[in-house]
Subunit: 70 residues, 2 copies
DNA sequence: TATATTTATACCCGATCAGGTATAATAAAA
DNA sequence: TTTTATTATACCTGATCGGGTATAAATATA
């Protein structure tokens, strides 16, 4: 479970949507939403963006996680 | 040409690397680097991250570009 | 408890990506 | 200019993603 999957899961729940609801609204398959929330690494960029757009977000390069305790 | 492709192209050049150099260092095919820099939308998430990691970055959800002039 | 809802996992298959190669176009250097 | 290096585009193929479906597990509700 990575940051992306956590982000999606949290946003989805905060909107009171099921995975099925989200897949429908985003126009992707239910299986894709599941793979995403389960932290699958090999996903199509554009499909992920279809989902993130529902949350007003998109994928972009961000500095790699620095260790919090350093 | 989107933000991601611009980011990669700029970072690559700032390091004085050719697309071929980058593809080798990242462990992806040359064709992939080209598709990426050309702004292809349908790319594999993990492959993109292989490249971004060389720049100390990774893909993550960012707020969708708000219009600068509003 | 039992029942319904939601989520997780596994399989099959068409569509498509990534790699490889070749060729063309562009840019840089001599 | 010619030559070289780098980038862009097109084709072919194996591998794999995403959709659909089914089933199981987990969670919530009565």
């Amino acid at each position: 479970m990575n940051k992306l999957s956590q982000f999606v899961k949290e946003r989805r729940k905060s909107l009171g949507l099921t995975q099925e609801d989200l897949s429908f609204k985003a126009g992707v398959g239910l299986r894709f939403v599941r793979d995403l929330e389960q932290g699958k690494e090999s996903l199509m960029l554009d499909k992920v963006n279809q989902i993130l757009s529902l949350f007003g977000h998109e994928l972009g390069p961000i500095p790699t996680e620095r260790d919090e305790n350093s």
